[in-house]
Homo-oligomer: 260 residues x 2
């Protein structure tokens, strides 16, 4: 039997890594991951063969993981967050799909037993850090237009705004993409107030974490980098201040039936 674990290790804090994720890494001889992710995991990675590939080589990373596993090495493909959310898991299945369609020449991939282990995603870490921002219906939108045309993304933001979803933006900016977040803000301003609370959570749960609570009107891509989670409240989200402590929460419903 050949085995591939597809593992999400959560936002960064080692105390938020599921025991199941840690055990999968422990059971593997080979790890395919960015070096940074493994640094956050610590000792459990010692003695493993570590395979890294440059950013942008995601498909080849998934190929490598399948190849290693198919060769008989128990392998873990690892990402931070939830590996099923804007991460590597889907590429593994896309490759399997291609093989099943005869578009690849790797029948050995089909014998690999695959176990996907979810993790806590950045939107969840951010929402918890400021209270309960995801307390009601929410959505995620990736602002990366590398694989999805901007027109599709734009339409989706319009729908998210119109549906009054809490919105978490993944890939809000990169070195080459600096205008999409402000464009997204302007779309949302058509359907919710400028005072809507916004969370900027940078390096969530990590040593250099920083949390900023701002508003939709004040949101600006210049304050955001690749390590920042941007979550925008819905029309009922509330920013409250209790002394030195600030919270943002989104009520569970719209009819405000609070018992006494």
């Amino acid at each position: 039997m050949t085995k591939l674990f597809v593992v999400g290790t959560g936002p960064g804090d080692a105390e938020l890594v599921a025991p199941k994720a840690r055990a999968a890494i422990q059971a593997s001889s080979d790890l395919v991951a960015y070096g940074l992710y493994l640094d956050l995991l610590g000792d459990v990675c010692d003695g493993k063969e570590h395979h890294d590939l440059p950013l942008g080589e995601e498909i080849n990373r998934a190929r490598l993981a399948l190849d290693l596993a198919a060769s008989g090495k128990t392998t873990a493909l690892v990402s931070s967050g939830d590996i099923g959310i804007y991460a590597m898991a889907t590429l593994v299945f896309e490759l399997l799909d291609r093989q099943l369609q005869g578009l690849e020449d790797h029948p050995e991939w089909l014998d690999v037993e695959i176990d996907v282990i979810p993790g806590i995603s950045a939107m969840q870490a951010g929402a918890a850090r400021v209270g309960a921002l995801l307390g009601h219906d929410f959505c995620t939108v990736s602002l990366s237009d590398l694989l999805t045309p901007w027109e599709t993304i734009e339409q989706r933001i319009h729908c998210a705004g119109k549906g009054d979803f809490v919105i978490s933006f993944y890939n809000p900016v990169s070195k080459k993409r600096d205008w999409q977040l402000n464009a997204a803000r302007d779309i949302l301003l058509q359907s919710r107030p400028a005072s809507t609370p916004v969370l900027l959570g940078r390096q969530l749960t990590r040593e250099d974490e920083s949390i900023t609570i701002t508003t939709l009107g004040e949101l600006d891509a210049k304050d955001v980098d690749m390590f920042t989670m941007v979550s925008v409240g819905n029309s009922e989200s509330r920013h409250i201040v209790n002394g030195s402590k600030e919270w943002v929460y989104t009520p569970r419903g719209y009819s405000k039936k609070l018992s006494h």
Copy 2:
């Protein structure tokens, strides 16, 4: 110092409980939770004072947790999944907000230090169990119209459909609510094909887990109960079969640039 942990313990499998969640429960003298959740956690709950309240008493559960913590007892308010997603966390902050507005008479609540610990939500457990259903932009919609008017929910489903989001329905049915899921299906059929893959994940990651992959056209509330996660793919989600193994994944992008 008085302390309240607000803790999500994941979908059910003890191996998916974050160490941080377990440590919070360990550090508490009092637990406010459904009995079932604690049963899944095992020994860590031994010797704790356990406070339960009937289903439907969510606000009083949050009050009780704040009261206990304010009285000096280190307390954990516990739910399965992510306590920030359709769960108890937001009620705690709604109560604090009311106190800050002078609508409650519990100034002692404002001295409670609150630490929210996220967990893996059912949509993530389900997506991982079948591959990578949440591989691209997704949303969650609660079908419970107890606190949100059906017209609002309906509008949101329309928007989710039009935006081609993968959709996870929380609270899909209950003993008293049996028609909303089929109504939601009919709305989505206006914007995506009847062949769209749908996951029914019952008791995810628990001993009596059952997984069914069906289609939007075949989705029927009679096959769903309160313990079932219903996730609907987007227009590009794929159901693939590899021998006895089935997977569902949603590609990361829309332009299908797969390198070779």
